[in-house]
Symmetry: none
């Protein structure tokens, strides 16, 4: 919960958004998200499920998108960014891909993620949030590993790290998010090797 709540004690008299209510709403909202999805989710249903008045929701967030955005931000922040570092490039990249896989395999987050992604094309605030809270930290992990390998001479300094990151991350993401198919360990192993071969053959900035 990182949203816009007024929690601190106010000047006169006692009236603060109650923690228990916020928790009940959060739980109910994720349950509804899982069952009916973002597009069809109704504030009415969340309130009903939480045993709470609708006003309790609108007292905390100005709208449905704002609420969901805030809740998802909180939950995604929890899920680790995961930066392995054994020093061996192949091993580290494989571990990174495995970490991505485990996150993408969470059915609830995959479900909600796809809907938020679609929504983000019409909602710049949402797009911004998704970028800074979700995409950027994850991409950073890959960049860190690649940069480390360059520093140690394992990869050429002319490497286009952006494209290299795409080559690593994209096939896995594509397969799981767009094709909605599972990726087994062999796929991960082969993918790591292939990507590494491409990088070593030198993916250069033009």
């Amino acid at each position: 919960m990182t949203g816009q709540q007024k929690k601190g004690p106010t000047a006169t008299g006692g009236a603060v958004l109650r923690e228990r209510v916020t928790e009940a709403i959060t739980e109910a909202a994720f349950a509804e998200l899982a069952e009916t999805g973002y597009a069809r989710l109704s504030m009415e249903a969340v309130a009903r499920r939480a045993g709470v008045g609708k006003a309790a929701l609108y007292r905390r967030w100005p709208s449905k998108p704002a609420m969901i955005m805030d809740l998802v931000r909180g939950r995604v922040a929890d899920s680790l960014p995961c930066i392995p570092a054994t020093g061996d490039l192949h091993t580290d990249l494989r571990a990174l891909l495995a970490s991505y896989r485990s996150q993408l395999a969470n059915p609830l987050l995959a479900l909600i993620g796809a809907e938020l992604l679609a929504e983000s094309r019409r909602d710049n605030a949402l797009a911004q949030m998704l970028h800074t809270e979700v995409a950027a930290p994850r991409r950073l992990a890959a960049l860190a590993i690649l940069q480390g390998a360059i520093d140690q001479g394992e990869l050429p300094p002319t490497l286009d790290v952006e494209l290299a990151t795409d080559l690593l991350i994209a096939p896995l993401t594509f397969r799981m998010v767009i094709l909605d198919e599972h990726c087994d360990d062999e796929y991960l192993e082969t993918l790591t090797s292939a990507a590494l071969a491409a990088l070593k053959a030198s993916v250069r900035r033009p």
Copy 2:
């Protein structure tokens, strides 16, 4: 338009869905899709915009998903599958990626595509349609080129064509669909080279 319309003359006189009305609805539906998106699209608004009664919509399709699915199927089928074949592997792959890029760059289809993709996780019929009508034919083009190269000895016969296809298509798709960023010609060129390097380094079936 491939849906369930009863167009041909029936046995004993009778009535037939009128072409002009169907066209008006189609046009209005895409305009609404562009403006408000799939999730928020309302049948009422489509009918209003088309200058048509709601019943005219429900006479043609049983529901909103069915209508959109049918309309999108029709439009996507029009947009070419695009199979270049100069014989030169690098050139062909680049041309293929350029063709993909031009389709993904259509803002309306990108917009709708993302929403349909999200929706398809909760609607198997939609998922099936997207696979057979959209994904499969496009993937086929890539597979054809790769298989041709294998047959001519340019690529090893042990190549895992599925993974190879991912390596080719995924980075472009990932960048345009998920990151919503443009890919210039240089990106395409570098990507083609990198992917080709990876393939030649032999992506093998396990």
Copy 3:
């Protein structure tokens, strides 16, 4: 059937409203009237029941009220006006009331009658029709008997025949139409006596 049909053979080619169709519509319309009433009757349902296209109805009548009015006019005209004349005043009046009773006891006509009466307050054409086709001929029978009695000296020539007619007809009509109660023979007998007493006590024009 006395309405506006074009029945006679027309000048060019053969196109005449077909008798069988008109009959089927008439039958279906009365069946619908009996089941659902005038207000809820739907042209669609009449056409369906008659096994006929809706256009066949609108080719014959311009609207639902016009159709029903025309059909009811035809049927009411059939039901006799009934003018008894034994010469004995008490007997004749009783017979007249019995005749009224039998008509009002027809459940279909009572049902439709009440609805048409209500409708007639908003539809002058209907009101006019009901007056000239239904009310006037029936009232005439009562007036004829009373006038005969005056001519023979049984009733004073100063009798207000309009009010006298009300005194006779109204209680029976009131009881059957408004209270929706049955009137047995004893009621009829007592009513005849009472009305006669009132008349003889001389109901005078002011």
Copy 4:
């Protein structure tokens, strides 16, 4: 307003139907009744005219008949029952008839009344309501006067008060409701005299 509203404060806070809204609906409903009649009245139009959501209507009444029934019941209950009692039989009966006349002369109630009467033949609940709320109280006034006259010896104890009531009320009602004609004071005076003559000539139970 005697309907099913939940007005009193409920146990645990909550919401209550607001008086102002109910009033706006009532006013709009009678205006619509006057203009378009019961059969053609649409809930949508009432809501529109009242500046109110449709739900506000359905929150108060389950259906159109229930709403109209409730509103009419309320309004009719307001209109006085009117029991004159000077002690003089002729004067009292004339006053009673004048009171009836003034009520039947209300064009709105006459209009609605006819429609409800017609409808009541197909709706037992409505028929019951009309009987107990409208007919019975009015009939009671007449019965009271007649019984008083019997008790004081002005009318014979064998008088059939039911038939006697018909003789009094029916002609006036018949003329105003069925013939839709006005009754002037002279008609009332002559009617009172004639009915009284009939009663004194002794309308007996068989």
